[in-house]
């Protein structure tokens, strides 16, 4: 394998406000799994999107099998047998699996029978179990990913690039995926695995390229390095583990009792959920995305109506209250999607801080907004949370992910006098911001608030929670004290394998 299959030389890419790739060079070989490691925002997706033809680089060259190649669109990349699976699936939800896989590679009239058979054969060949006639929108995320992979395999790719593929999978599904990747590579193909999770790198990769701030900082054989070295390359500084002094809580602050919720599509999203959170306690709910977490948060804040059950703060039922009234009761909600829900991107920082206060007598005299209060509120958040911004007039869409999240957290922490819900609070953030958010969560707990932490990151759950529960298919499986919990066990619960099943011979 002297001539690498793909070689990238000196690639640089600029976006409107940031240097995404700075003189990036590395190579990809056949028969090898390359891990592209770096924290969020390091530029890993960008460089691969350039290779796949979705972006055009400002500087640099691409060589395929030693020959200089110009890749101007995904068509060119596919022509070179390169396929890429995006982080956010590029599927058409209302269409069938078959339609999704074949779209773009056909002409003329569609022969459904023939196509179906081709898909079934392809899926069988790789050991995937998908129904070609099912609609993508009805499939669970793990299966949707399989459809994405089949899309690439249908094109007979020789290099498969996967962008953060395990983000939506259970630990077991992630293992299956990595097995598939190894098999794929053993057949003489190449694979690139973009990730920010070190353990995956150590498990599946042959070589690791570490990126930070758009530049390549390390190109190493997996066997010649270790987690510690990789981690310091990735971050560039020492990370101190989070200090979490747990103490016992003082009485029950928040209760959910027999809550059942049907989502907008008519499926039962939550089934008889019940739990309590004490004052000054963090309850961490672990689980793979799509098992009801979003609906839980939405039902507590009141955006989604409950079919049955009760929700109580300080013993008082809030089930019949509107969203506005529940906010007034002191519930803060850091939603998993800060772009679509947590923020109004085209509004200023100040206006985003004010988002939930427009009904509040405090910030307004009658219907006129009290400018001074409005400004002070925003300025205080900027200084308290060290938000990097040009001022409260700056549009939040110009802020970095970490700073955007700080705005949301600042607002919700202030609103959440009694209860704060954190759903995927550190998704897409760099390590510095992640650390900051964690420290904030702990600080709020220490003030005596009830904290509900919902996350797919087990390390986060384990670092912060006082008690841990697992959500699966809308049901809450097992609630336990942090000190009694083991990662493997929780991982299995996340896949729906209950205790009895775990201990079966």
């Amino acid at each position: 394998m002297d001539t690498p299959f793909v070689e990238l030389k000196g690639i640089s890419k600029y976006f409107a406000k940031v240097v995404a790739n700075n003189n990036v060079s590395f190579s990809i070989h056949k028969g090898e799994v390359l891990a592209l490691l770096g924290e969020n925002g390091a530029g890993k997706s960008t460089i691969m999107k350039i290779l796949y033809g979705l972006y055009q680089a400002e500087e640099g060259e691409i060589f395929i099998n030693g020959r200089k190649t110009n890749i101007t669109s995904p068509r060119d990349a596919m022509g070179e047998k390169i396929g890429m699976i995006q982080q956010h699936f590029a599927l058409v939800p209302p269409h069938t699996v078959t339609e999704n896989i074949v779209m773009g590679s056909l002409h003329g009239i569609l022969n459904n029978q023939d196509l179906r058979q081709r898909i079934i054969d392809l899926a069988d060949h790789y050991g995937f179990d998908v129904d070609p006639d099912s609609y993508v929108k009805d499939l669970p995320v793990g299966l949707q990913q399989k459809v994405e992979i089949l899309k690439a395999l249908y094109q007979n790719v020789e290099l498969l690039i996967m962008d953060e593929p395990t983000a939506v999978l259970t630990p077991q599904e992630a293992d299956n995926l990595m097995q598939f990747v190894r098999q794929f590579v053993e057949k003489g193909n190449a694979a690139v695995f973009i990730t920010h999770k070190m353990n995956e790198v150590m498990k599946v990769a042959d070589r690791v390229v570490v990126m930070r701030n758009g530049a390549v900082l390390g190109d190493l054989e997996k066997n010649g390095t270790n987690e510690h070295e990789l981690s310091s390359l990735m971050v560039g500084k020492e990370i101190f583990p989070l200090e979490n002094r747990r103490r016992s809580h003082s009485g029950t602050g928040f209760e959910v009792d027999g809550l059942s919720v049907t989502d907008q599509r008519g499926h039962k999203a939550l089934d008889n959920i019940g739990f309590t959170i004490g004052k000054g306690e963090i309850l961490g709910i672990a689980g793979v995305s799509g098992n009801g977490q979003q609906e839980l948060g939405d039902a507590i804040i009141g955006v989604l109506a409950a079919d049955s059950g009760d929700i109580r703060i300080d013993g008082e039922s809030i089930c019949h209250l509107t969203v506005r009234e529940r906010i007034k009761k002191g519930i803060g909600y850091v939603h998993a999607d800060r772009h679509a829900v947590g923020l109004v991107l085209d509004m200023s920082l100040g206006e985003n801080m004010f988002l939930k206060s427009s009904f509040d007598r405090v910030a307004a005299k009658g219907i006129v907004i009290d400018r001074n209060r409005f400004n002070d509120y925003a300025d205080k958040a900027i200084s308290d949370y060290s938000i990097k911004t040009s001022g409260r007039e700056e549009q939040v869409k110009g802020l970095s992910g970490g700073n955007q999240q700080k705005v949301v957290v600042a607002r919700e922490v202030d609103i959440g006098r009694k209860l704060i819900i954190f759903d995927q609070p550190t998704r897409g953030l760099d390590l510095g911001a992640i650390d900051y958010v964690h420290k904030t969560i702990l600080a709020e707990r220490d003030k005596g608030k009830s904290i509900l932490l919902i996350s797919t990151e087990l390390s986060e759950i384990f670092a912060l929670s006082d008690r841990i529960a697992v959500i699966y298919n809308g049901k809450l499986l097992q609630t336990m004290d942090r000190k009694d919990a083991a990662i493997e066990e929780v991982g299995l619960l996340m896949a729906g394998i209950t205790e009895e099943e775990q201990h079966e011979p």
């Binding site: 068509r75 058409v92 339609e99 002409h107």
Partner: protein, 303 residues
């Protein structure tokens, strides 16, 4: 009574052509807000073509050509320059009204009597049109009417049974999915806009060339918008468009009948307003199910 139904089919023709064009475009995520203007320029172009050359083919050709020109401008501004569809369409509608009136003056001056042409004759289909009752109804219509229905059926087939149709529908639901397989979303959208321009122009020419036999400023009077509404009410499906167009064709036909026969107890204006009131009622009662997810949203690549 038979006359009313026959006329209903006639009046539904331009609505059906326009609605079919709109369905194809909206399935790819593009709203043709300039539809009213395209109908207008089609009506004018059709009239000018027939009046100056005496050839109906020339009339339809000119109508289609002018519609295509408008579509080119609309497509360029909304797809390439990525401006707002509603904004651009409104600007074009105002512009076209002015341009058409202006060039009508340039070409014809200010005639004392309105200029007329002979409306296009009907084209009875041999044999079939001799069938009692139904024959006269269905098979003794204008050629444009036959084309309209065939077009709608063809559109249905193309959209749902061919690879091209699958791509068009995918562009409207999730352009990212199409982009990542290397098909240009912009090209697909431009294509459907141009098709809509040609069809819309021909649809507009119906009013001057087939129906009235002359051109006046208010000849379209909101019917481009009704075609637009039919796409919506027909659930973005050409078959639905057929049903919708027929309903409005019947409404217009009844309105014409009532007005010409003295109206009875209801004032004329009620019948004039009938199609519009009908649209409002239907719009209210319709639950939007199949809106293409990315309708009206410009596709901006992260570059």
């Amino acid at each position: 009574m038979i006359n009313i139904i026959a006329r209903a089919l006639l009046m539904s023709t331009p609505l059906l052509i326009g609605a079919t064009a709109e369905v194809i475009a909206e399935r790819a995520g593009v709203m043709i807000i300039a539809v009213e203007g395209i109908f207008l320029i089609g009506a004018w172009g059709g009239f000018v073509g027939v009046y100056t050359t005496g050839s109906y083919l020339m009339g339809f050709f000119l109508a289609a050509l002018l519609g295509l020109c408008v579509a080119l401008i609309y497509g360029w501004i909304t797809i390439i320059l990525k401006q707002h569809q509603i904004v651009t369409g409104t600007a074009l509608n105002i512009f076209i009204a002015g341009i058409v009136a202006f060039f009508h003056r340039v070409i014809f001056g200010v005639p004392l009597l309105p200029l007329t042409i002979e409306p296009l004759e009907k084209l009875p289909i041999p044999l079939l049109s001799k069938i009692p009752v139904i024959g006269g109804l269905l098979f003794d219509q204008s050629i444009l009417t036959y084309i309209a229905f065939l077009l709608a059926l063809a559109a249905y087939f193309i959209l749902f049974k061919t690879a091209v149709g699958l791509v068009i529908r995918s562009v409207g639901e999730n352009p990212v999915a199409v982009d990542v397989v290397g098909i240009s979303v912009e090209k697909v959208r431009m294509l459907v806009i141009l098709i809509a321009g040609v069809l819309g122009g021909i649809a507009g020419s119906f009013y001057s060339v087939v129906y009235l036999g002359m051109y006046t400023e208010g000849i379209i009077g909101g019917r481009g918008w009704i075609a637009f509404a039919i796409c919506f009410l027909g659930n973005w499906n050409p078959i639905g468009a057929i049903i919708g167009a027929l309903i409005f064709g019947v409404a217009e036909s009844i309105a014409i009948y009532m007005q010409s026969s003295g109206g009875g107890f209801l004032p004329n204006e009620v019948f004039i307003a009938l199609p519009y009131i009908l649209t409002i009622i239907l719009t209210i009662s319709r639950k939007q199910f199949n809106v293409p997810a990315k309708l009206g949203v410009s596709y901006v690549k992260e570059n």
